[in-house]
């Protein structure tokens, strides 16, 4: 009973998406099922999270095949934290999509595919088998391809071609890496690989495999110089889709990098140095990219890239403090980025434009909403005591400890650039006198909507802003959580023991 517990979040999503398919054209039913299902999913995940928090790492051997032979599912603190964050972001985006997606898109299976995407995310976080991870990645990208093309506008299709090609290439490189790793060790179980890779004598080949993994996951995580697909595609689909992409899809790449480089390829000075260099360049290029954009969705797209750099930097330094910073940043970033793309959707609905030059006067028209939007925007910058501030302390401390002063400089530079970008955005969109925006016919303006639809736009933003505030003001709890995750990651023996001990004496 408790053994299967970790699979329940995954199965619930599968069940939801199948159930939703039976209501293909009845979009009101789909909306209700999706929101209720997401609430149920959040509740279930909180339960599983508390169970793992109290009882330590849980594993499940699929079909009772013993550990190195069958597919293993592992829920350690990192996995289950990310599953929990997926549930929170999923609930918010589900409510947001229910009121922001036009019926034509909903009639072509938006909600079932959305829940398939969440299924893939849950699976990727929970699996302990490298080939199974590949399969979950494919589920994620296939669902995301459908979501990004749904609607078939010109910009969407162009963005989708780029998104598709680069993601497919990433999958193929990932598959190549798996092939080489299997050739080296003859195993696919990640815990087993951790033992066997350490014993391989041909270190050069191990490094090449690691670099292949780095490229494959790096494309998905959008690190320098592999990020160009992201700003070309993330602003094209509707905001609800952008929100789930921006919040979670790149983070799966980061999760995979953390998992692979903390478990399988550990303690290699060359790789760590490479990660640090990549992170510094990512921080730099993402920040500078954001500076010159005019479309607010594109600004946020570049900020995603910029902030991926923080997480990779922490991973590269690989001390307990640095990893704790990375995990804290990951938690903060998923919530805030999801929220920001929803905010951009809200601004677009209110004003009918996403161009910073044209927008303006938001603060005088909607003072309460502006104060609400203030929270995610300045959480992102990391003004204390908001949530983006705390992980940077850990990261800066870690870079002092490891004497990587370039990393330190990059952290401070990227924070500064983020501040400049957000301040510019605040001045342009909220304070400036509005420019000329043509009134659009047949456009679904916010002020023409009914009360419940308005609520559907604002409620998820309020929800995620409260989560952000909690991360900021309850930073102590989050710090405890990320330290615990960091401890588990630094000592990969814990993970290995959990996988193999359970296999020897199943309860």
């Amino acid at each position: 009973m408790t053994q299967q517990l970790i699979l329940y979040p995954l199965l619930l999503q599968l069940l939801l998406s199948i159930l939703l398919m039976f209501f293909w054209y009845r979009i009101n039913a789909q909306r209700i099922i999706s929101i209720l299902g997401s609430i149920l999913h959040l509740g279930l995940t909180i339960y599983v999270f508390s169970f793992i928090w109290n009882n330590g790492i849980q594993t499940l051997q699929a079909g009772s095949w013993e550990a190195p032979f069958g597919i293993t599912f592992v829920a350690d603190s990192l996995s289950i934290t990310l599953v929990l964050l997926t549930a929170i972001a999923g609930l918010a985006v589900s409510i947001f999509s229910a009121s922001s997606m036009i019926p034509d898109r909903l009639k072509f299976g938006y909600f079932p595919i959305f829940h398939f995407l969440l299924l893939g995310l849950n699976g990727a976080f929970l699996t302990g088998d490298i080939f199974n991870l590949y399969v979950w990645f494919e589920i994620i990208i296939i669902s995301s391809f459908v979501l990004i093309t749904l609607g078939g506008e010109k910009a969407q299709l162009e963005g989708a071609v780029k998104y598709f090609t680069l993601n497919f290439l990433a999958s193929m490189i990932f598959l190549t890496a798996i092939a080489v790793l299997y050739g080296l060790t003859g195993s696919l179980n990640m815990a087993d690989l951790a033992i066997k890779v350490a014993e391989v004598e041909n270190r050069a080949l191990v490094q090449i495999t690691a670099v292949l993994f780095l490229i494959g996951f790096g494309i998905k995580a959008a690190v320098f110089p592999l990020y160009f697909w992201l700003p070309a595609s993330y602003h094209t689909p509707p905001s609800a889709v952008s929100a789930i992409f921006g919040g979670l899809l790149t983070k799966v790449g980061v999760y995979a990098l953390i998992r692979v480089f903390s478990l399988i390829f550990v303690g290699d000075a060359f790789l760590d140095e490479m990660l640090i260099v990549i992170a510094i360049l990512t921080l730099f290029s993402g920040g500078v990219g954001a500076l010159i954009q005019n479309n607010i969705k594109k600004v946020f797209s570049y900020l995603i890239i910029c902030h991926i750099g923080y997480m990779i930097l922490g991973l590269g330094m690989f001390t307990e403090v640095a990893i704790a910073g990375t995990i804290f940043y990951l938690i903060h970033d998923i919530i805030v980025k999801t929220n920001l793309f929803m905010v951009s959707g809200l601004i677009y609905r209110i004003k009918g434009s996403s161009s910073m030059r044209a927008l303006g006067g938001f603060y005088s028209d909607y003072p309460k909403l502006s104060l609400l939007i203030f929270i995610p925007l300045f959480s992102l910058v990391g003004i204390p005591p908001l949530s983006g501030f705390w992980p940077k302390i850990s990261l800066i401390t870690a870079s002092f400890n490891t004497e990587s002063y370039w990393g330190l400089a990059a952290i401070i530079f990227a924070s500064f650039i983020t501040l400049v970008v957000i301040a510019k955005l605040w001045a342009e969109v909220f304070w400036k006198n509005p420019g000329e925006i043509r009134e659009r016919f047949k456009f679904d303006y916010f002020h023409k909507m009914g009360k419940y639809r308005k609520l559907g736009f604002v409620a998820p933003i309020v929800f995620l802003s409260f989560v952000s505030l909690y991360i900021g003001f309850g930073a102590e709890n989050i710090q405890i959580l990320s330290s615990r995750v960091a401890q588990e990651l630094m000592d990969n023996q814990l993970y290995i023991d959990a996988v193999f001990n359970n296999a020897q004496n199943p309860e």
Binding site: F131, Y134, V135, E138, I141, I142, F145, T149, G152, E153, K154, A155, L157, E158, G159, A160, V161, K162, F164, T165, F168, L169, S171, M172, L175, T176, I178, A179, V180, Y182, G183, G186, L188, A232, S233, H235, T236, N294, N295, S354, S355
Partner: protein, 117 residues
């Protein structure tokens, strides 16, 4: 045999990447297909090619008596083929739609997403 495979895989990867780097959308699809096949053959090769030894335990014995062909890579390839098959068919539809809407086959002209808006 292994050498031959290695060369074939190398050619498939090289041709695939070359085709992806071309500007035409159709060549992009061909590149994707070639690359996928290359990756599948690579798994097959790295799972060690053992000729004429199926992984079946003889009746009178309880364990394998000699080297046998590893069945795991074949299962992996099967999965990978199915997945890349799905992705390729999606790619073909996507390219067809994109061609119809954007009215060009040239990737260099697909830059509406980079324009300032």
């Amino acid at each position: 045999m292994e050498i031959l495979f290695a060369i074939i895989i190398g050619v498939l990867y090289a041709a695939g990447i070359y085709m992806i780097l071309r500007r035409s959308l159709v060549k992009l699809i061909i590149g994707i297909i070639l690359l996928g096949n290359g990756a599948n053959l690579l798994i097959f090769l790295l799972g060690r090619i053992t000729e004429g030894a199926p992984p079946i335990i003889p009746e009178e014995s309880k364990v394998f008596l000699e080297a046998y062909a590893d069945p795991v890579p074949q299962a992996l390839i099967l999965t990978a083929i199915v997945i890349s098959f799905g992705l390729q068919s999606f790619a073909i539809i996507l390219v067809k739609r994109a061609h119809k809407v954007v009215k060009t086959d040239d990737l260099d002209e697909m830059n509406a997403t980079d324009e300032d808006s």
